[in-house]
């Protein structure tokens, strides 16, 4: 049975409309959220199976033909990202049932959450550069609102920093689109790849467009030196919102970088590869050094997002199909692990004595379940076998060695060591040491906090014990990237 890919866009819109109609009934809104995200998760997995057997799916919206019409496409990369989006947003919707107070929901939290889901799904499905801009803006504006819902001073301050940098990057994206259209005459990704490969645009124009798009997507992804907004804002909102931002939003930026530079500008690889190379190495190092200096759980984890993004973008910088497949595996592994770590940070905040690690402690005795769930994710992030992080790092470092990138491999391994250091810092402060006297009092924790962690930890364990299936899918995705769907 063919899955209609517009379903991924219809489901969040219908869910949002139903939730607007039920604005005064938070429990009804929550159920709709769960149904909507669960449907996206199930459909995403079915889409992966379908694309694996039948190849990419293309939809010309309104039957207007590409390259002038907007085209939606679902190749393996999009399908994988949609599946993981569904899983992670479902777990966050579960977590939000316990963490988000009803006064936030009366202000429209669940509705904006559906719009965020819409923007993310749209970004993954589109094959048109300007359409990508539109979906980016939907996602961005929803994230602005979710960051600020709650109204605490730290949130407003974080919002100002997040919003200002991201708005400027949006306008730079527009500029990049203008230069792409001027040079190449088209905005369809496959058509861009075709025209660049056939030398149909001026080289200066193509490189200028590549630089603008690199800056715009670099801000979104968290590339050095454009990541400053991330550690200033990701630790301020509600824990569920932090988790979904950390797991999803930066990866949309990485996806956009892969889609643009591995598909569109692939023929110009020799130009932007050094920029991505050194940029991603600096990102890895700066992120982990930033994490090593913090004593606040969510700030440590926010800096780690930056550091791991460096790994993913290095896979893109290497440029071979194997490296991009390793990067795709890394993305999926990291989304699962990062979201789970933010859920663990929420639990540490509730029962461990607050987010300040100097004032937290004693969780090893009081919450052994949290010990297990945290360790699965933390060891996976650090790259300890047999967890998924080990396979992801191994694949990437093998590609680095194959590409004779010795310095990069050494840096990646050292950064992995420092990542492990920050994880052991959280461990020894929040779990191992005794609870200090000035710890914040414990707040009740419910099943809705724990079940998403169990689900995501289960996903990590599945991935750790059987990484081959995801490697196969990532290989298919990388191969399809290098052979984009041809336009009529």
């Amino acid at each position: 049975m063919d899955i209609p890919i517009y379903a991924f866009l219809l489901i969040p819109i219908i869910a949002a409309v139903l939730q607007i109609l039920g604005l005064r009934h938070p429990s009804y809104q929550r159920i709709i959220s769960l149904i909507s995200t669960g449907l996206i998760a199930v459909l995403g997995c079915l889409l992966v199976v379908q694309v694996k057997h039948n190849g990419p799916i293309i939809l010309d919206v309104g039957a207007w033909k590409a390259p002038l019409g907007i085209q939606l496409q679902a190749d393996m990369l999009s399908a994988l990202m949609l599946a993981i989006t569904g899983v992670v947003t479902f777990c966050s919707a579960l977590h939000g049932m316990a963490e988000i107070p009803t006064r936030d929901e009366r202000k429209g939290y669940q509705i904006i959450y559906q719009f965020l889901l819409l923007g993310v799904c749209g970004s993954f499905l589109t094959n048109d550069l300007f359409n990508l801009y539109v979906w980016f803006e939907v996602m961005l504006l929803s994230s602005f609102v979710l960051l600020a819902i709650g109204g605490k001073k730290a949130q407003i301050e974080g919002s100002v920093k997040y919003v200002s940098l991201n708005i400027v990057s949006s306008f730079i994206f527009l500029l990049g689109i203008a230069v792409v259209y001027t040079t190449l005459g088209t905005l369809n990704f496959s058509d861009i790849a075709y025209r660049i490969a056939h030398q149909m645009g001026s080289e200066a124009g193509i490189r200028l467009a590549a630089v603008f798009l690199l800056i715009a997507f670099g801000v979104k992804a968290g590339l050095f030196p454009l990541y400053a907004w991330l550690p200033s804002s990701y630790h301020t909102p509600r824990h569920t919102v932090s988790a979904i931002f950390a797991g999803l939003l930066t990866k949309v930026g990485v996806y956009a970088l892969i889609r643009t530079f591995a598909v569109g500008f692939e023929a110009q690889h020799h130009f932007f590869a050094p920029i991505l190379w050194w940029g991603s190495l600096a990102t890895m190092v700066m992120g982990v050094l930033g994490a090593a200096s913090q004593f606040h759980t969510r700030r440590i984890l926010s800096f780690h997002i930056i550091s791991q993004i460096g790994y993913m973008i290095f896979g893109l910088a290497l440029g071979t199909a194997g490296a991009i497949a390793a990067a795709i595996f890394y993305i999926i592994h990291h989304i699962l692990v990062k979201t789970n770590l933010f859920f663990a940070a929420a639990a540490i905040d509730r029962i461990g004595g607050g987010e300040d690690l100097k004032r937290a402690g004693g969780l090893f005795r009081t919450a052994p379940w949290l010990v297990v769930l945290f360790l699965i994710s933390a060891l996976s992030l650090g790259g300890i076998p047999p967890f998924s992080g080990f396979w992801a790092k191994l694949a990437l470092i093998r590609e680095m060695v194959n590409g004779h990138a010795w310095a990069a491999a050494v840096i990646a391994l050292l950064v992995g060591l420092l990542t492990l250091y920050s994880m052991t810092k959280i461990w020894s402060e929040a779990f191992w040491k005794d609870r200090p006297g000035n710890a914040q009092p414990a707040r009740p924790i419910s099943a809705a906090h724990v079940i998403p962690m169990i689900l995501l930890a289960g996903g990590t364990i599945l991935l750790s014990l059987n990484p081959t299936f995801l490697f196969e899918l990532a290989d298919i995705a990388a191969q399809q990237l290098f052979h984009p769907i041809s336009t009529p």
Partner: protein, 120 residues
């Protein structure tokens, strides 16, 4: 004509850059506005301003008359203006709330989320 517009785009971008880097909330907001206008104008000018002939196919012909103005950038600009409008509206209210809650108009004072011990 195109030269003047290109110079205008450069001027708007430089005003926007200068204002975005200022300390006051309001000046940053106006800088963002300038940025938006400059980006939209760039979308108009860069693909080339046509001869002013509207892209409507005359009766009996299959293509618009030679030298028609390209309608696609105009559609892009419309979308970008609308999106920018929504974003600016949100930013205005956010800055107003920030000014009210944080009791400051100085962006350099917004360091609490960056410090080692952020307040709750």
């Amino acid at each position: 004509m195109e030269t003047i517009l290109i110079l205008l785009i450069g001027f708007l971008f430089s005003c926007g850059f200068y204002l975005v880097l200022r300390r006051s909330f309001l000046r940053m907001l106006v800088g963002v506005l300038f940025f938006g206008q400059a980006a939209n104008l760039a979308l108009l000018v860069l693909p080339g301003i046509g001869g002013g002939i509207s892209p409507i196919v005359k009766a009996g012909a299959t293509l618009p008359p030679e030298g028609y103005a390209d309608p696609l950038p105009q559609a892009l600009i419309l979308t970008a203006i609308v999106i920018g409008f929504g974003v600016i509206a949100f930013v205005t209210v956010l800055l107003k709330k920030a000014h009210h809650d944080l009791q400051t108009d100085d962006l350099d004072e917004l360091t609490h989320t960056d410090r080692e011990e952020p307040r709750a």
